[in-house]
């Protein structure tokens, strides 16, 4: 068992990615060929990476290897442990789906765009992600990290003719560089203590960290990884950048690139900095709650389908952080078992969110692909022309709303359980935080459900609202296959959770020295229990089966009843007006109106209504309505900062005003000052 060729297969997948990058760059003159090379090699790399991850997880014992480079401390060293395996597996699942999806998706690029360059960036993205998740060397990590950011920038600005796209891209890359700066400082601090650039050395050096150093390092890393993960208030780049990218890329960005931030937090907070004090964990928890609630609240106000999904990424990152924060608190409070459960909740939600968010973005992508618009107000009725896409999107929607029996529910359930346990596990007033966080999580879940009722219903149900949605066709087969694969994983992870959970044992053992997988499973392997003595129990499998079985009496009832009178189709009730048309339909804006009113404190909504009339205002011919909400963080935080900086810079330009006398004066004054004050010892 312990002679699985993990390293070899992993290396093979790396080569697949890198050769794919070069090959697609080389063949950019032949779009069709290039397309096949691009997607094929990506798929191959994904499959190999997945194999390596599965083997690595089965094997349990970490695999290490290292290749030296010319530069001191900078070695190409990899450490394939459970954590790396987990994230690589997630990456592989997504990469596979996306590369299948892209077979047809990229077809529209042919002749219009440079597929070769796209493929190059696409492969580099996958490659850098793999490296980030696997490397054990700070330099290599930072290189992978920044390459990831730069490549993502290239992909976000792929449609760079559009001004909004360019702005979004720049916002993204600037934020990314800020987080890279924070990480640079953090790692420099750790390397200063440990004297080595290997992650393993931090583990041992953590003991020598003074509490001050530890706090500084924690803050730096939380900033760095938090910006990358898009937590509130560092999220502003996310809803700008993710929607404008090509949809298959948006899927990867939201699905896995954000998770790089989570990966970093888990790797450093649980492994690199020693036992963090509980305030750190609580900070993570609180930030998580804020991100979750605010993220979903902002999502509700969107009617750009992809922006809506982007905001939901913020929400889900928040949920993940809640679990992570709980784990940190439990660890320092001396409840490693609970910590393990909380960590599993966080990690499982990471996996789930990766999958259903990728699925949803791909679905949005095929909607965009066939209708050409992201604006939900112009969509509608797509369930008839594109049934498969609709079904996949629906599954994704149910899953992301955390509704049983799908995977989203399981991870949220585990989060609830750990929060519930947190009340007993901690003392003082902090214990209230846990149930409060729980209730906020409930709010988040319900709002998410509302939001996805809106997203799905407005996009796919009832009548088309705009001309774009009228004459559309189902997405090509390969795109459907890509989505279908993710749909199946969603269902499998939901219903068969009890078979997958023990795989986390290696992870929790590596990070916390606990194996709780077995405690989590009971009732003939059907039931998921919270691992505590009492705790709670749930079984998505039974719920699923129950729903199916109980369907029988219901169907019988109806079929018996409807035997005599036929069911017939008729027009919808339209208050006697002639014929229901799309004007009568509810819009996305109208749907979210009540919440906009209720949370107006946050939104500061602004609306203006203009009635066009010729005789009297009481008989308007047309009414123009527009409303917008205030982007609080941009307006209150970032824009003022930017303005201040630019103002200062413009002022500074006066010192370079072209007068040679002034220039000489600078030197002269410096000289005299130094002569007077510099010379004396």
């Amino acid at each position: 068992m312990n002679t699985l060729p993990v390293g070899t297969i992993f290396a093979l997948s790396l080569t697949a990615y890198s050769t794919g990058a070069l090959a697609s760059l080389a063949t950019w003159r032949k779009p069709a060929l290039c397309r096949y090379i691009c997607c094929g090699s990506a798929l191959a790399g994904a499959v190999l990476g997945g194999l390596a991850a599965v083997f690595g997880i089965l094997q349990g014992t970490p695999v290490r290897w290292s290749v030296s480079s010319g530069i001191p401390l900078f070695a190409y060293s990899f450490d394939y442990d459970a954590l790396a395996g987990f994230f690589n597996l997630t990456l592989a699942i997504l990469a596979g789906a996306v590369s299948i999806y892209s077979f047809s998706y990229l077809k529209e690029f042919e002749g219009k765009r440079n597929i070769g360059f796209f493929g190059f960036l696409f492969h580099l993205l996958l490659l850098s992600l793999t490296i980030v998740f696997t490397t054990a060397n700070v330099f290599l990590f930072l290189i992978g990290w920044e390459v990831m950011a730069l490549v993502a920038y290239g992909l976000v600005t792929f449609y760079h003719e559009d001004r909004e796209t360019r702005r979004a891209g720049l916002l993204y890359i600037v934020m990314a560089h800020i987080d890279a700066g924070c990480l640079l400082l953090g790692f420099a601090l750790l390397m200063q203590v440990s004297g080595s650039a290997e992650f393993a050395s931090f583990r041992t050096a953590a003991a020598q960290l003074s509490s001050g150093q530890q706090a500084v390092a924690f803050v730096l890393f939380f900033l760095g990884f938090g910006i990358k993960a898009g937590v509130i208030p560092f999220h502003i780049w996310l809803p700008a950048a993710h929607p404008v990218a090509p949809s298959n890329i948006s899927a990867l960005l939201s699905g896995i690139v954000l998770k790089a931030g989570i990966y970093g937090m888990v790797r450093i907070f649980l492994d690199g900095l020693g036992i963090l004090p509980s305030w750190a964990g609580l900070l993570v928890l609180i930030v998580g709650v804020a991100s979750a609630v605010l993220g979903v609240l902002y999502a509700l106000m969107e009617h750009d389908l992809k922006r809506l999904l982007a905001y939901h990424s913020i929400e889900n990152i928040g949920i993940i952080l809640i679990g992570l924060g709980a784990a940190l608190v439990f660890r320092v409070a001396g409840h490693p078992q609970l910590a393990a459960v909380a960590l599993i909740a966080a990690m499982f939600h990471t996996l789930n969110h990766a999958i259903f968010k990728c699925l949803l973005f791909l679905g949005a992508g095929s909607v965009l692909h066939s209708t050409g618009t992201r604006n939900m107000e112009e969509l509608g009725g797509l369930i008839r022309p594109m049934p498969v896409t609709a079904f996949c999107f629906l599954i994704g929607a149910v899953a992301i709303s955390g509704l049983p029996p799908l995977n989203g529910f399981v991870s949220e359930w585990l989060t609830y359980q750990s929060l519930l346990a947190g009340f007993g596990a901690t003392g003082g007033l902090t214990r209230i935080l846990f149930p409060l966080a729980g209730s906020m999580l409930a709010l988040t879940g319900a709002l998410a459900a509302a939001c996805f009722v809106k997203a799905f219903a407005i996009t796919f149900l009832a009548l088309p609202r705009g001309t774009e949605a009228r004459h559309v066709h189902e997405a090509p087969r390969s795109m459907l296959v890509g989505m279908g694969w993710l749909t199946v994983t969603c269902l499998a992870l939901g219903l068969g959770v009890t078979w997958f959970l023990p795989a986390f044992d290696a992870l929790t053992e590596q990070l916390l020295g606990q194996r709780v997988g077995t405690n989590l499973i009971s009732g003939h392997g059907l039931v998921l229990s919270a691992g505590m003595r009492h705790g709670g129990t749930v079984s998505t499998a039974v719920i699923g089966i129950g729903l199916v079985i109980l369907l029988i009496p219901a169907v019988l009832l109806v079929s018996i009843g409807a035997r005599r009178f036929a069911r017939r189709r008729g027009p919808t009730w339209d208050c006697g007006l002639p014929g229901l048309s799309e004007e009568n339909e509810y819009t996305a804006t109208a749907f979210s109106k009540p919440l906009r009113m209720i949370f107006s404190v946050l939104y500061q909504p602004r609306r203006e209504i203009q009635a066009v009339f010729d005789v009297s205002p009481y008989f308007p011919k047309a009414i123009r309505f527009e409303s917008e909400i205030e982007p609080t963080f941009e307006k209150r935080l970032y824009v003022p900062l930017k303005d201040l900086l630019l103002w200062f810079s413009t002022r500074m330009r006066a010192i370079q005003a072209g007068s040679i006398h002034a220039y000489l004066a600078y030197i002269f004054v410096t000289l005299v000052l130094l002569l007077l004050f510099g010379v004396r010892p």
């Binding site: 409060l436 749930v538 009832l557 229901l580 509810y586």
Partner: protein
């Protein structure tokens, strides 16, 4: 296994029968309090029976979502019903889904109901779905806080566990935390079951209706399923309330005697709760939609107080 099935069957029958009866009772009591004759207790049965035998009209704009929704709603209501202890402490399926599962399953039902409402394309449906999702969303945190308070006492989210603990320590319901939690949950119950002052099940005026607007396009057997499901849901929530806070007479086993006793206790408790609801309905006017959040905020505060008082007292 067979035992499980038997219990499940028994409770299933109980659910299907008691639910319409309860809503009938509520209607009658309400009418009496308003000094009307009103429908008799069995009216709800007749309605369902009638609807089941009628034909139905399906809007031509609607898709398969519209027609699957009633089944989902009905089935979920039953499934949830099997998870909660009614007459005995151990519910048939309690092992497979605790209180969290109950809440989220109901949310799933609501999810599809809202989709069904929007699927017809009429603005009534949209209006209903929008309001329903909004109100349930802001009801959620209060509900979860109250539930947590109870669950913390029982140290479990498993309903049978909670019931057992409650039974073991009687008079616990006098603890302020329990009382506050009960108050919070009662408000949530009213919101969730769509009763005055939050919603008016008897109206069809588009300014006021919420639940009714969603299901406006349903007819015949589908409507029957939805109505029946709704009444079961109401029963479930009320049961949840009475049995977690006032667990008197919950038999700990499935013996005939225990069941009989438990049933009597159960029905009396339910009647009392129903009477309470009716009182509230008749003494209050329906709130404007945007006043509802304030009501639910009150319940949230109550929940928070309950939580704090758990380790103050």
């Amino acid at each position: 296994m067979t035992g499980l099935l038997a219990k499940a069957g028994l409770q299933l029958v109980l659910l299907l029968l008691v639910a319409p009866f309860l809503s009938g009772i509520i209607k009658t009591l309400k009418a009496r309090l308003q000094t009307r004759r009103g429908p008799d207790v069995l009216q709800s049965y007749r309605d369902i029976f009638k609807l089941l035998r009628k034909g139905m009209v399906i809007p031509d704009t609607a898709s398969w979502i519209f027609s699957t929704t009633p089944y989902i709603v009905f089935v979920i209501a039953i499934l949830v019903g099997l998870m909660i202890p009614m007459t005995t402490t151990d519910a048939p399926l309690s092992l497979f889904g605790g209180v969290l599962a109950v809440v989220y399953l109901l949310a799933l039902g609501r999810f599809f109901l809202a989709l069904g409402g929007l699927d017809t394309g009429s603005s009534f449906g949209g209006l209903g779905s929008s309001r329903e999702m909004t109100i349930s969303a802001i009801a959620e945190p209060a509900m979860m806080l109250a539930i947590f308070t109870v669950a913390l006492g029982a140290n479990s989210t498993n309903l049978s566990e909670m019931a057992k603990v409650a039974v073991s320590q009687s008079w616990k319901f006098l603890a302020p935390s329990q009382m506050l939690a009960f108050a919070a949950l009662f408000i949530v119950l009213i919101a969730e079951t769509g009763r005055i002052p939050v919603d008016n099940p008897a109206t069809h005026l588009e300014l006021t209706m919420i639940h009714e607007a969603m299901i406006l396009e349903y007819s015949g057997p589908y409507l029957a399923l939805i109505e029946w499901g709704a009444s079961i849901k109401q029963l479930v929530l009320m049961t949840l309330l009475v049995n977690t806070f006032f667990p008197f007479g919950l038999s700990s086993d499935w013996t005939a005697r225990g069941l009989g006793l438990g049933l009597i206790f159960y029905l009396t408790k339910m009647l009392l709760l129903a009477f309470l609801i009716v009182l509230v309905e008749t003494t209050n006017a329906k709130l404007r939609l945007f006043r509802v959040p304030e009501l639910l905020m009150v319940s949230f505060i109550l929940g928070a107080l309950a939580l704090i008082s758990t380790f103050l007292f």
